[in-house]
């Protein structure tokens, strides 16, 4: 029984990181109707920036969001402005296919550039918090993963406040609900897309910072997280912010429990089985709103 409690706990902990990535994916989808395949690669960029700040400047990973968040916001905004917008402007459809392919292309370009410039060496950062644990009630809780969970909570609250209490946030939501009507209300939808993409990238700065102390850094590191994020977003509801956070935790727990009872490889089958089932039974996801 303690084994199960331990598995659920560690599932919740890694779920924090999953949730952050899913949240980023969902902001872009919620506003632009585009599944951003470059999300995992942006996470990789966030991790590498965090790594170099530590390696060259001695900046603690938990301080690096001060740099990575604005930097990745800028990068996201630029990507949107230079590559996505021109395509989006040409596409009339509400769910532009070519933009989806474009993000996949961007992901490949960034990943291969990272391979060329940073080499395929695996890197790790060992800080004071790496491998630190807290023991309570017979459970071993990894401190850096706990920080990840806290980061998810803090980011979710900040995002919620931004989306509901600020004009810019309301404009983001309005654009997500109806691009044309939002434009009629005087909202510059392409600027809003830039903000959304930038925000989503900035979150990868946060996710990168919390991952670096306990995970390895490699150009291909985003892939395994991105696949999980897809499942989470579908589970929680496409475009639903609370759904992404909740879905992240849920996926972490399912993964942990199945891996303990049966096998880690079976956990993947269960997860992707749920992914397919949700698409059939409840395409809007657990917390999503049916759209027409």
């Amino acid at each position: 029984m303690r084994g199960l409690a331990q598995a659920v706990t560690s599932g919740l902990l890694i779920g924090g990181v999953y949730g952050l990535i899913a949240l980023g994916l969902n902001i872009v989808f919620g506003t632009m109707r585009v599944v951003n395949f470059a999300q995992g690669t942006l996470l990789m960029v966030g991790m590498f920036v965090t790594y170099w700040l530590w390696e060259l400047g001695g900046v603690h990973p938990y301080l690096s969001p001060l740099v990575t968040v604005p930097l990745l916001f800028g990068l996201g905004f630029l990507i949107q402005h230079l590559f996505v917008s021109p395509l989006l402007a040409r596409e009339r459809a509400r769910e532009p296919m070519s933009v989806l392919l474009l993000t996949l292309g961007l992901a490949l370009v960034l990943e291969n550039a990272a391979l060329l410039f940073f080499s395929a060496d695996f890197k790790t950062v060992t800080t004071d918090v790496s491998m630190q644990t807290v023991k309570t009630a017979g459970l071993i809780v990894s401190v850096p993963r706990l920080v990840g969970l806290a980061a998810l909570a803090a980011t979710s609250v900040a995002l919620y406040v931004f989306l509901t209490r600020t004009d810019l946030g309301r404009a983001v939501r309005a654009t997500g609900q109806d691009r044309e009507v939002a434009r009629l209300m005087g909202i510059n939808d392409f600027r809003i897309y830039g903000v959304a993409y930038g925000l989503s990238a900035a979150m990868m700065g946060i996710a990168g910072a919390v991952l670096v102390p306990f995970f390895y850094i490699h150009p291909g590191v985003g892939t395994s997280f991105l696949l999980k994020a897809f499942v989470i977003v579908v589970l929680g509801g496409l475009g639903s912010m609370p759904g992404a956070a909740l879905g992240g935790l849920l996926v972490g727990v399912i993964e942990g429990a199945v891996a303990l009872w049966v096998q880690a490889a079976i956990a993947q089958i269960v997860l992707f089985g749920i992914f397919v089932a949700i698409l059939f039974v409840r395409p809007a996801g657990l917390l999503g709103v049916e759209r027409r």
């Binding site: 598995a7 599932g11 391979l115 395929a120 071993i140 990894s142 291909g220 942990g256």
Partner: protein, 415 residues
Amino acid sequence: MRYDTLRIPIVLALACVATTSSVPPAGAADDVRIGVVAPMTGPTAKFGQAQKNALTLAADDINAAGGIKSLGGAKVKLIFGDTRGEADTGVTETERLITREKVHALIGAFQSGVGFPSSAMAEKHQIPWLTFGTFDKITERGFKYVFRAHANDTIKARALIEGLVALGKRSSPPIKSAVVLAENTEWGKSVSDKQRNFLEKAGVKVHFVENYPYAAPDLTSLIVKTKGVRPDLVVADSYLGDALLITRQMHEQELRPVAYAAGGGGHVQPDFLKNMAKLSDGIIAATMWDAAVGKKVPWIAKENERHAAKFGVPYTEDSAGFYQAFQIIVDALERAKTTSAKPLRDAIAATNITDVNHKAMLLPYQAIRFDETGQNPLATAMVVQIQGGKFRLLYPESIAEPDAKVLWPYLATTR
């Protein structure tokens, strides 16, 4: 830095132009052309570069000493084909080396996944192929032109388990039970299965073998499950990322088995030692080559020093393996007295090297011979232990470092 990183693609582009447009120059027919299929670029380019270095050193030696004597002093020319670490590229490069460059023999391809299909191309064209790669099935397809002088996965797994049991007998506490954690691609599945067999044969209870998903973000549950059965031995067959994650999460979850062993892969790479520092202390692993073999065989020590002086790093199991393959081809060429495929193939099949001072014995065995499948049945592997960030050769006793002591249990110094 910037200049260097820019230079690589430029050089590559030039190299591509050069290789596609060059026709073997007139008069080169007298040269012996040996094709090398290896990852020169891509994620595993570091390995390919080391293999190229070792081969270039070997070829320069032969040419400086007057070439292949039985062929009237013919020079040996190495022609490289870049696999980029990809199976399909490996196959097309192999075909290019055979059909356009008209190579007489081939060496390749580092990753078993690339070598497996590429060697089939060599077989199709009936050009001798000397394998580097441990996947058993490479030589188990009834092929006539494919040979492997070094250990396969079975031999490596046997060496690891026999070594562990032997080291355990000399130490306390002993190993009575085990768990095997292996990644779920071809290599992990194949090697873990063999380890289970050898463990059971040695009377060790195997609680379970689990093939976890490659490159998983979190493996806590797996570690918790392993901790639940309290095994004396944990064997991990992992690529580098997973090796780092498992080792760290074992520490977090306070899983400290008596012995922590690895089938090779990520645990024996320099990056692992660099990143894991103290947590690697006491990990026991199987390998096919270690610099310490030079302590018993003087020429190997000298050869390794020369290599290190020239390239800044010692031989590794793969670069030494490529070197060995090259020397076997040279040995066969001397006896075949021709470069035509069939007699050369027969000469390789008839290889019988027993002199420990022969250059093909850089990976030292009782002998280099090939059975009817093309595998050297006398190939062996050895067991090393990470001690203070360095490898110490512990098993088999015939080649073990005389002054090396086993560190037992795992993390003995920090417990």
